[in-house]
């Protein structure tokens, strides 16, 4: 059975590390849903969050193959009950004098921010879990979504535990 899984990787900040990881997914035919990279508390390392879809066997292989890369220090699965994951999304919605306030109101309910206002559109910035974002999309859809960008999931384990080696 296919499922969506979120992996968190601690990697050495070496030349080519991102291409090694994305190349691995490409050549072994695994699907990446999203991938985010960022710096960490230590300049030597980066943290990568990858969401993938696949069955149990494929997910196990993905973890093992990632672990084989010399630059990958640790790979963990961010299980929903033990971690927080969030996504940042910008949505450009059609808006004019007749409905602008309604959209602002919906955005407030979702604690989303209006970050750009124009005569015929708005850009809303929203952070949250996939469910929350899906719900927001559902609400603003009728007004007309002109464009959007999703950052992909990023996350950390809950509690004092840290991803180390």
């Amino acid at each position: 059975m296919e499922k969506k899984t979120c992996l968190s990787l601690l990697v050495e900040n070496n030349f080519g590390v991102l291409s090694r990881i994305s190349g691995l997914f490409a050549r072994r035919g695994y699907n990446i849903d999203s991938l985010t990279v960022g710096t960490t508390e230590n300049a030597r390392f980066s943290r990568i969050t990858i969401t993938v879809t696949g069955d149990e066997q494929i997910l196990t292989q993905i973890k093992k193959q990632l672990n084989k890369l010399i630059d990958v220090i640790t790979v963990i699965e961010l299980k929903p009950e033990e971690s927080i994951t969030r996504e940042l999304v910008f949505i450009k919605v059609k808006a004019d004098d007749t409905n602008r306030n309604q959209i602002v109101e919906i955005s407030n309910m979702f604690r989303a921010n209006i970050v750009d206002v124009a005569r015929e559109s708005l850009i809303v910035e929203i952070t949250g879990t996939r469910d929350k974002i899906d719900a927001f999309f559902n609400m603003v859809e009728p007004y007309g979504i002109l464009e959007f960008i999703r950052s992909g999931d990023t996350g950390l384990q809950r509690g004092a535990k840290v991803l180390s080696f």
């Binding site: 990697v11 080519g16 084989k68 010399i70 990958v72």
Partner: protein, 545 residues
């Protein structure tokens, strides 16, 4: 110290004796330093052969083989050889020159992204951006190549880095790579479970792969098999892991293995897989066994376990260490009935040697390799190329005692045998032994240029060139898949005078078309110190393996 000198000092520290290379602009500084280095440079005749030399050297000596190539076309010429080493887990280090740092990314003359190009089939690679990193990178590269599951590592060094002058010496010794800590010891709980399964099994089989050879676990395998009389089957890469004249030896499995070995494997209720990948080529003739067979899978690479086949009991660890643990446990069981059954299977599926005319008019390669087995020393090394010649030598040349058998099993790279056999010769220069390169008329022509190296260094290699005027194995496939007569692109029509070719290189040569004649010339060839080519003519229709 000049960085180029430091590179060679680092190689010396790794006990490198030979580098198999080809120069060019981006390696000028390194070659200038090589001029006065104790490391011997062997000028290969095409970079494509370089990694194969290194591979043969590594497999024979158990050390890391090293090849060199300049930037751009030199580097890209290495690609197939590196992939070949990767698929067979052979420890080699490839060093490439690169354009100056400030030119990288500008499509400069002879610039190629070689770390990018080889990423899918290197265990790891480095682009050296700072000469101060050289000692660490070279130490790490050799460590990564030779430990855990071995494999090729590439180091790409820009020309201007080689010219830097640096103060740091060989200060870096201890390797500490956070993301690389190979696990040698099998989990004790898993070992307990596995040995319990082994004790319970009625029809166990040990399936030995290349991992046994890479882990130098042949002695332990023998001891474990003999302890409770468990039969041993090998993969193509596992040939040599177990003596073929041993009563427990049960042949080679796979699409090109022995019939009886596949039957035995199908009948087993427990397969103890030690360092074999269960690749599609090995398992294609195993039909019934997944449902009613248990699998114990020992591999140093966790990713191999469960990749191609569901495993009952996985054990991540080194073959030798885990086998020692197995031997210490009680696995006793009487396997007399099972061994009797195997004997029966062997009798029901005998090896067929004879051929009918017109095939029998020329050399019968099966008989030829069988008699070659009897005429050669107990510590010979045979390097087989790819094609029918490879399968014939794998199946009918017996690997006993200290003999070794090398081939390109995973990638199936034509042209492997000659440079790899040369690598074996370089690894044994101080104690020359019988080294055979077996190749077909197709594969020979892929590495023919290396005759220059053989002649120059008077390598003691005996080339067994099997000419059937065909790309035999592909032709056989065409026949199997599309029917007789559906041959396309598999004729090697032009009749090359291989004797004249050998003469051009001053290499002693023979041409034979009868088994008796082969039997006569082989001892002469072996006695001759230096290279010999024996052309053995086989009928194009001799396609049965």
């Amino acid at each position: 110290m000049l960085a180029s000198k430091l590179i060679l000092k680092c190689l010396e520290r790794e006990n490198v004796e030979f580098v198999f290379g080809y120069p060019g602009g981006a390696l000028l500084p390194l070659y200038e330093a090589l001029r006065t280095s104790p490391i011997k440079h062997i000028l290969v005749r095409n970079e494509q052969a370089g990694p194969h030399y290194a591979s043969g050297y590594a497999r024979e000596s158990g050390r890391v083989g090293v090849c060199l190539a300049t930037s751009g076309p030199g580097a890209t010429n290495l690609v197939t050889g590196i992939a070949t080493a990767y698929l067979d887990s052979i420890p080699i280090v490839a060093i490439t020159g690169q354009v100056n740092r400030d030119l990288i990314g500008t499509d400069a003359f002879q610039e190629a992204d070689i770390t990018g190009a080889t990423a899918p089939f290197t265990k790891h690679s480095y682009l050296v951006k700072d000469a101060a990193d050289i000692p660490r990178i070279i130490r790490e590269a050799f460590y990564i190549a030779s430990t855990g599951r071995p494999g090729p590592v590439l180091i790409d060094i820009p020309r201007d880095v080689q010219l830097e002058s640096i103060k740091t010496g060989l200060t870096y010794d201890k390797v500490d790579i956070l993301g690389y800590k190979p696990n040698l010891h099998g989990h004790s709980g898993q070992i307990k479970r596995a040995t319990k399964k082994i004790k319970e099994a009625e029809r166990p089989v040990i399936y030995a792969g290349g991992g046994v050879l890479l882990g130098h676990a042949e002695k332990e395998l023998l001891a474990f098999a003999e302890k409770d009389n468990i039969p041993v089957i090998t993969s193509l890469m596992g040939i040599g892991a177990f003596p073929e004249d041993h009563p427990l030896y049960c042949g080679i499995v796979g699409s090109h293995g022995y019939e009886y070995s596949n039957v035995v494997m199908n009948e087993a209720d427990l397969i103890i897989n030690i360092g074999a990948r269960m690749s599609d080529r090995a398992t294609s003739r195993l039909t019934s066994f997944e449902e009613n067979t248990d699998f114990v899978h020992i591999d140093i690479d966790p990713a191999e376990i469960g990749k191609n086949m569901e495993t009952t009991i996985p054990i991540v660890g080194d073959a030798k260490t885990v086998l020692i643990d197995f031997i210490a446990k009680d696995t006793s069981k009487d396997h007399a009935t099972w061994l009797a059954k195997i004997k029966e299977i062997k009798e029901q599926h005998p090896l067929v040697y004879d051929a009918d005319p017109p095939c029998s008019d020329l050399i019968n390669p099966k008989v030829m390799f069988r008699s070659m087995s009897e005429m050669t020393s107990d510590d010979s090394t045979l390097v087989a190329d790819v094609g029918l010649n490879q399968i014939w030598s794998a199946l009918y040349y017996h690997i006993i005692k200290e003999r070794k058998f090398f081939t390109s099993g995973g990638l199936g790279t034509m042209g492997y045998s000659i440079p790899a056999a040369c690598g074996v010769c370089f690894a044994t220069l101080d104690h020359p032994k019988e080294v055979f390169a077996v190749c077909g008329d197709g594969s020979f022509q892929m590495s023919m240029g290396e005759l220059g190296v053989i002649a120059e260094h008077q390598l003691n290699v005996k080339i067994i060139l099997i000419t059937n005027k065909k790309l035999g194995m592909v032709r056989q496939l065409q026949c199997d898949v599309y029917g007789k007569g559906h041959y396309s692109g598999t004729d090697i029509n032009f009749d090359i005078d291989f004797m004249k070719l050998a003469e051009a290189y001053s290499i002693k040569s023979y041409k034979v078309d009868k088994n008796e004649d082969f039997n006569k010339v082989l001892p002469e060839a072996i006695k001759h110190q230096g290279p010999v080519l024996i052309q053995c003519q086989v009928h194009p229709d001799f396609i049965r393996i």
